[in-house]
Assembly symmetry: D2
Homo-oligomer: 367 residues x 4
């Protein structure tokens, strides 16, 4: 497996390139009996889609997903679910100018060295277009987790460049193109992005994601900890450079008295841990954050070399997001859903004999 | 597999509890022909071992590793390498006081909910003692990577609580008990730790780790990216709450012009990316950092509940590190080595047909 | 993963049901640089296709495969290869008569008990139509093995019911609809099949498969032996009930002096072992045979029960092969190719340091 | 993973060589709460042990297994179970005579070509001694399956060379050194073996194995079928050359009317299928048979070559079983237990939502 699958019992495999005929995914391991139609997945796909505001790429992608298998009379059957998105906006653009060029910050050079061949059209396999399939596959996990366990998963933009954003109002997140949960800052975001776009530069971002309503005990000790698998899943998203759980890097500066979450019969007093202890869920919110680098494709010229090692200047002219972090919110939600789903199936496979009854420590409700 | 294995072609499986008869590991997939004896592994084990200075736990652990298989006449045979460390310091301590107690910040509660049974002696399976086996297994990967590819892997303490530490002098790292690469700060560290120990509290830390001399192209696209697998491996270390590659979280505040690493015929101009692009190694240093939370076992009392949900006070009296981050440096090195080794084997399995010749962009030399 | 993938480095995942919109496969791990077009795969698909003679099902299947990804300018890129076959002959047949019935010898009952829901149209996921994708995926492995290693893989019908067939003439295999390598028996086969078809009954078969030109050393010791993985792959084909390597079950009646393959400087004297020793290839032909049960769908009525446990009579009226074994030959070739390809990649991943030079014992040439 | 692990949720990894310090296994994924001590495993180990009658090797092996982890106060904890068997009978025998020789029928040549180095003492990693650990690990699965699901697993000798043996009396199996279930044939077996031993030759065997009491629905469709995984597991046992399920190779000569197992409200009328349909268990006995080749180590000289390709004569002088098939019965039981256990955990992980109630077709009771 050259790395295009994730999950052990709930396994998602994706394929497809930015400018090939189609992209697809296979979701293997979805339990039978879940009501599922394309429209259940389309909502999240549309949230990820470019072109929904002036702050994201104006590229038009036909993110219409088709379910090819694994569903019968509206319910999953336990068979693998094939998902397909045809590429319809494969503009007959001429990519020959970059066919021999290594764009800084892109995978051009590393793919070239690894494979000796490269589908350079729109980034090929390394294009973020692949994440559309993650969102579709994650939608299945999300629906299951919500309907069967009452788990809710939600993401938000936690920082756009220098602008830090609080998690103030969940309901606001889907009312603005930034996935911003602090509506009073929308004006600042608009101005910042307008300025950025004019400058031809790009900027990084931080995205937060949270799952509420999980039972305690999900995850596995040692290597397949829930937090380690979340770190893997989020870091596998294009442009992500850092992942933290709970207080994350801030924990390094904390004292033990400050960080340890004390417990009373009413529940955990705080949640510095971010919902996991020893790699297993505690029943509190699982909270993670990921940092995304600024888009590498910018209008400002940069130095590079071509496949012969000759110096070259790179200027991007296409339709690119000045901040890829914005559209990453639904992807983070999808990846978290995939990890949690996988761990739920693993957990009950191995621990269904355990009568754990009502959790000793009251957990946060999911709905 | 309930999660005690890591790696696909170079696979490390660990077993054992803090106070059981022994801990062990199986390293499956090591190429044949590598010269290997116990003494090759003991050095790193000793670096991780507690009790080497007054700043770490005074617990004495008999970290003597035995190689049980996979080596014949001093060389690896391609068969799985069994490693064993007997527990000799299983003091007949009475753990009954914590047998029904959930210590805050520990895995007590989550193990209890997951398994309905818990080996409470010294943390059982969740004890950091398990990481000794990671260090031993990682030592095999390190030796191979160094001898066959010229790769050097090194860690350092990047922050101890509020004290940030620069990577100034590699050679100093092994000359002090802090793995500090900025010798002029040793006095500050000593004072800080002495004060901390007196207070009965603990503190977090940041550990950095770096691999130099890698060929470009290691890693797999999409889910099994090199950086995603590093994030997984580091986040699987006890107490780690955050992982970043290259500029990590700082990338979120950067502009594209600042972050993208320009290229000239002489090589990459900068290394904000931390040595990976598109999930594959670039040939530059692979650089990662991880944040560790403060030790949960502290002398200052804290509130908790017992397995019946009744309130209880928790006070730790044992021999504990006031900063677990210090001894985590060799563990981080080991985990990085395991990930790189696995990706090297996968890479050449799938790409050995590619004649990539001399890398187009000169890479950093490893030795 | 609910079991729809095979292979560790060369991984094939299939999806799709007999009467859904499409079936597909993802081939992950194919090395880059292999010349590949749909027409390279179509040949084997046509060999498996029903309706090519009066001795197989007259069902018409549109086995036109499309490559959706992983190929650029006619060469594989190292990215996953998406394959798709649309279902065009989904006759609007009414399957309601079997929707609540468990047909003897079919997976109806076991799927019902496992999943609580069943796509009963044409067997759903348990239909042999799924094997078309295996043939397509296996075609990629075959092409690679042939071009890079000079390996040839060939299957033949070794028995049709009571008629045992010798491996006499390779070149005859593709000249008759039975994959028979003993042309003088074709008349017997025709008569037998005509008689069988008239009777409304079905019959079992044995299929042989062979790989020539392998280097020695492929396979892994202990669990992932080459022969064990071949047994797994062949037994995973619909209707297969037995698998043997080399002399197989006949070995049980042999003496050691008879079975052990002596060696001279000119090579192995015999090949009772079927090309593997200790789970690794010897360089001789790898030879396996598989037994297929008679088709369960026959015109002669049989007793069964429905989903309520009520007795029912089952009579098949559709278009079915009276001997499913005949069309299984290309499937066996495909599965062998997939296993060998996977082991080749694993082998060189872990053993590329070994300079094994010219094999000590001359091996059989592949081409 | 170079192939020393089996199972996905219930994973067994073995390590160790015939003449190294120790052999071991890690059993990862055993559910918590199972009562377990060494004595639960020792019984099966003793059944496999050589030297229990004059018909098996007179070698004395110290098959005393120690549990190193994963058990606390007599119950499994969900943590990996480390198992260890020290090698005590490592006679200081001189193996230098075979150090450069490829014994016919052994893995000597293939290991040499694969690894370029070989632990030649007693077969090294390819020694059947490794199977002791499979028996120990399988004992855990067996105990769980029996206690939790009421499943009984039993093996028997189905043929010794030309002597076919019926499954007549379960209770007789453990009363004789042949695992023979037809006590009236014991005299024939004794005479045949005495004659064989005198001749210096060896002979093959067939071993049957059966699981009774399984619920329907275990297994996964397509590649990870229950029967395919059984074929893999049994074929991975040293010396096995063929595997069949139910009627196996006899199915090839059967008509559909003969083979299909009709169903009445009282249950399946017959069990030609061997307890699986479509790769899933039916609730009937799962029945498999495996063919073992004759021991390769015999006293009668044979031709071979050495590592330089020079001709050489091979004569075995050590203590070897004239029929390795006899002692393979407990190994077959162990492998079947491991496969069933893994599929049980996978099944309930993915299908625990399905309320399948009482099976529609009454199943065979297990106890």
């Amino acid at each position: 497996m050259s790395g295009n699958s994730i999950g052990r019992l709930f396994t998602v495999t994706t394929f497809g390139e930015s400018h090939g005929p189609a992209l697809g995914a296979v979701v293997d391991g979805c339990p039978p009996g879940l009501a599922l139609t394309e429209s259940d997945l389309q909502g999240d796909l549309d949230r990820r889609k470019p072109g929904t505001s002036r702050h994201t790429s104006q590229r038009r992608e036909g993110d219409e997903v088709r379910i090819l298998s694994g569903v019968f009379e509206g319910r999953t059957t336990g068979a693998p679910i094939g998902l397909l998105i045809e590429n319809i906006d494969q503009r007959s653009k001429d990519y020959s100018d970059i066919s021999e060029l290594f764009r800084p910050g892109h995978a051009d050079y590393t793919y070239w060295q690894k494979y000796g061949i490269r589908d350079y059209r729109g980034g090929g396999r390394s294009s973020a277009r692949e994440t559309a399939l993650r969102v579709a596959a994650g939608g299945i996990a999300r629906k299951y987790l919500h309907e069967q366990l009452g788990v809710r998963i939600r993401g938000w933009l936690a920082a756009l460049g220098p602008i830090e954003l609080a998690l103030q109002d969940w309901d606001a997140v889907d009312d603005n193109p930034f996935f911003c949960a602090q509506p009073e800052r929308l004006g600042d975001l608009e101005s910042y992005m307008d300025e950025l776009r004019r400058s031809g530069d790009s900027v990084g971002a931080v995205v937060g994601v949270l799952a509420r309503g999980l039972p305690p005990g999900l995850g596995e000790p040692v290597f397949d900890r829930l937090d380690a698998d979340i770190a893997h899943a989020l870091m596998s998203i294009n442009a992500v450079r850092g992942v933290e759980i709970g207080d994350g890097f801030a924990s390094a500066g904390q004292k033990g008295t400050e960080h340890r979450d004390e417990i009373t019969p009413a529940g955990f007093v705080t949640n510095h841990a971010g919902g996991t202890l020893g790699g297993l869920s505690t029943g509190q919110d699982v909270v993670a954050r990921m940092a995304l680098k600024p888009t590498s494709s910018i209008r400002i010229p940069g130095r590079s070399v071509d496949i012969h090692g000759e110096p070259a200047e790179v200027v991007t002219t296409g339709r690119h997001d000045p901040c890829v972090g914005i559209r990453a919110t639904p992807i983070a939600e999808a990846m978290l859903a995939i990890v949690l789903m996988d761990h739920w199936l693993r957990h009950r496979g191995q621990n269904a004999d355990v009568d754990s009854g009502t959790p000793v420590i009251p957990r946060q409700a999911g709905d």
